[in-house]
């Protein structure tokens, strides 16, 4: 039995890896759901016996997926979170079996635990948490949108950039209670702001589409900037679509609060260490959106770059709204502490 199950897990893992390598995805939410499906299959199978086995497999899988696409952190984040869950579930079961062993020192609480101990109940425990995670993922945009009434009031002007599903749901939810205006920066060269403007306008929200060059000019009338992001880094900074940094700087100049909507799987434990994030995790894509292929002659004379991401430092951000609550950037470390396994000391 085990081998058949192993085959299906491996093949779906390979499929996801290929998807990541080819860049054939549009949303990181999709990636995290696919990752969770694979983990679920593996957990249900007979391929593992102990928590140790499961953790090793999770670590290997995270590494494989990271290699496939270094800039796509969603699946890695999710797997790290699962590792923490498996450890906690194991520790809890282990404790309830041997109540005398409890150590008061929180630093050493996991030390001396043998993860290779077989605990049959662990499978169903992990299974249950995976179900919880699945529903959390599916409902994350909705849960974030529930906060909308608290942040958007009548007659306000909200500025956003590009297109984010989460922001879209948030604004539409707010529109049920309040009448407000949205300014959408188009986010060239991908220009997916057009789609958002279209979608908002058809939901009867008063929408203005502007060019990215007009952001600073419009900012003086804006009450709030609400944006999505690709990921939140461990210091509370953002790795977001290129252009967000300029929005954040303009907002800082006019003291406009910047609110970032983030589902939990976008919280990444990585620190932006190099001064220049382009050297580490940025992605450069084809410049065909900047220069037409028909202008082939020009290509030989100019360099055209099309970076995907911006790094936005934490001091430019006012608030993060996660699906589990709101946080200031300086408290991100706390959330990391609770969500991901600790570094071995």
């Amino acid at each position: 039995m085990g081998s058949v199950e192993e085959d299906t897990t491996t093949s779906s893992l390979l499929a996801l890896e290929a998807l990541l390598k080819r860049g054939q995805y549009t949303r990181s939410g999709q990636i995290s759901l696919l990752t969770l499906d694979i983990v679920e299959k593996y957990v249900q199978s007979n391929c593992w016996k102990t928590a140790g086995d499961l953790i090793t497999w999770l670590q290997d899988t995270a590494e494989t997926l990271r290699k496939a696409a270094a800039s796509e952190t969603a699946s890695g984040n999710l797997i790290l979170r699962l590792i923490k869950i498996v450890r906690d579930d194991f520790t809890n079961r282990h404790r309830s079996r041997n109540p005398g062993l409890m150590s008061q020192n929180s630093v050493d609480s996991e030390q001396g635990l043998d993860f290779n101990l077989e605990i049959p109940e662990l499978r169903s425990d992990v299974q249950n948490t995976i179900y919880e995670l699945q529903s959390e993922l599916e409902l994350s945009a909705e849960n974030i949108a529930e906060e909308a009434d608290k942040h958007i009031h009548s007659n306000e002007v909200v500025l956003t950039m590009g297109k984010s599903k989460t922001v879209e749901a948030f604004l539409k939810r707010a529109a049920k209670k309040a009448v407000f205006e949205v300014i959408v920066a188009e986010c060239a060269p991908a220009s997916n702001g057009h789609e958002l403007a279209h979608s908002l306008a058809s939901s009867k929200i008063q929408t203005t589409l502007i060019a990215d060059t007009a952001i600073f000019a419009m900012m003086s009338r804006v009450n709030k900037v609400i944006i999505g992001t690709h990921s939140v880094l461990a210091n509370g900074g953002l790795k977001a679509i290129a252009g967000i940094h300029l929005v954040a700087l303009a907002a800082k100049y006019y003291n406009v609060p910047v609110i970032v909507l983030v589902p939990m799987y976008k919280l990444s434990p990585e620190y932006p260490l190099s001064t220049d994030i382009n050297k580490t995790t940025n992605r450069f894509v084809s410049p065909d959106q900047l220069l037409d292929y028909s202008d082939g002659d020009v290509y030989s004379k100019v360099c055209a770059y099309n970076p995907v991401f911006d790094y936005v430092p934490p001091n430019l951000i006012s608030l993060f709204i996660f699906n589990i609550g709101s946080l200031a950037p300086s408290y991100i470390y706390r959330l990391l502490h609770e969500t991901y396994p600790q570094i071995k000391r």
Partner: protein, 305 residues
């Protein structure tokens, strides 16, 4: 082991401490202090835990009075040691003194090992900060910064500006400069402290050590660190602090005068250390991971409570 003056516990501890400092030349005096304390536990012949704790406290007091310029690290390290050694005492089922003593010695030794590993851990976490072609500024002769610079792989070539900084002992800065100069991949420039503002625009990142990390995530370090930090902040350059977690201390200064004067002044009554508030610090690189200044308080709570 060392010259033992009969009847004088104080002298015995002093000698022990000085001996341990001499043995572990490269290491921080804080580690020598912890060794001394473990020795105190081993040689204790009293009959209650309370007596033993009193004796450790007494030893800490003696070690602190003679330690000189590393006093900050020594006192925070000793406080953490005491905390560790006595933490799980209540859980020991048998109330026998020998058991308690063994337990304290065991826990203390664990803590010592963690302290000894700390410097390498910090250095290896700090080395990746430096990228090829980086221009870095280093202030004050921190051992852990030196270790980090040495750990940078040889194919990464970078330039370091090293401030002359106020000298405690005539030769220590020279030693630091000499050690850095030995690394083939580092181009070194030695500058006066007054040149910091001038040089900052060319710098990519600033590395400093710390004598103590305080409760709010700020640091106490060699005088001049504050000026470096303010310059770096003004010019938007990241400032990284490399510090072992035994330097985390429960002091909470709000301004320079709040720093206890026993730490503040050096020889000739001149100011030796200054307090750098957390807003100037980008990140602290410690053996407990990379921490933003706000995260320091949580780590402290975990270590002391």
């Amino acid at each position: 082991m060392s010259a033992f003056v009969p009847g004088s516990k104080d002298n015995e501890i002093m000698n022990l401490f000085e001996n341990f400092i001499a043995i572990g030349q490269e290491q921080s005096p804080a580690i020598a202090a912890v060794r001394t304390l473990i020795h105190t536990i081993q040689n204790h012949d009293g009959s209650t835990v309370n007596q033993l704790v009193q004796e450790i406290k007494e030893a800490i007091r003696i070690v602190e009075t003679i330690t000189g310029k590393s006093k900050l690290a020594v006192s925070s390290c000793c406080a953490q040691f005491l905390q560790h050694a006595t933490l799980n005492l209540a859980n020991i089922e048998s109330a026998e003194m020998a058991m308690c003593k063994n337990h304290m010695e065991e826990e203390g030794t664990k803590y010592l090992q963690r302290c000894e590993r700390a410097i390498t851990k910090v250095a290896s976490a700090g080395a990746p900060l430096i990228f090829d072609g980086a221009k870095i500024l280093v202030h004050s002769n921190s051992q852990v910064v030196l270790e980090a610079l040495k750990l940078v792989p040889e194919n990464i070539k970078f330039t370091a500006w090293i401030t002359s900084s106020e000298k405690d002992a005539a030769n220590e800065i020279q030693d630091f400069e000499y050690e850095v100069d030995k690394c083939a991949n580092i181009t070194t420039n030695f500058i006066q402290d007054s040149e910091i503002g001038y040089i900052m625009e060319t710098i990519d990142l600033v590395l400093v050590g710390a004598e103590a990390v305080v409760k709010n995530g700020g640091i106490l370090n060699k005088v001049g660190t504050l000026s470096v930090a303010i310059c770096a902040k003004e010019m938007n350059k990241p400032l990284y602090v490399l510090a072992e977690s035994f330097k985390f201390s429960l002091i909470y200064p709000l301004n320079q005068r709040d720093v206890p004067s026993e730490f503040r002044y050096g020889a000739n009554n001149r100011v030796r250390i200054d307090y750098t508030p957390p807003k100037y610090i980008t990140m602290l690189i410690t053996d407990r991971g990379l921490l933003t200044p706000t995260a320091v308080c949580d780590e402290l709570l975990e270590m002391y409570l």
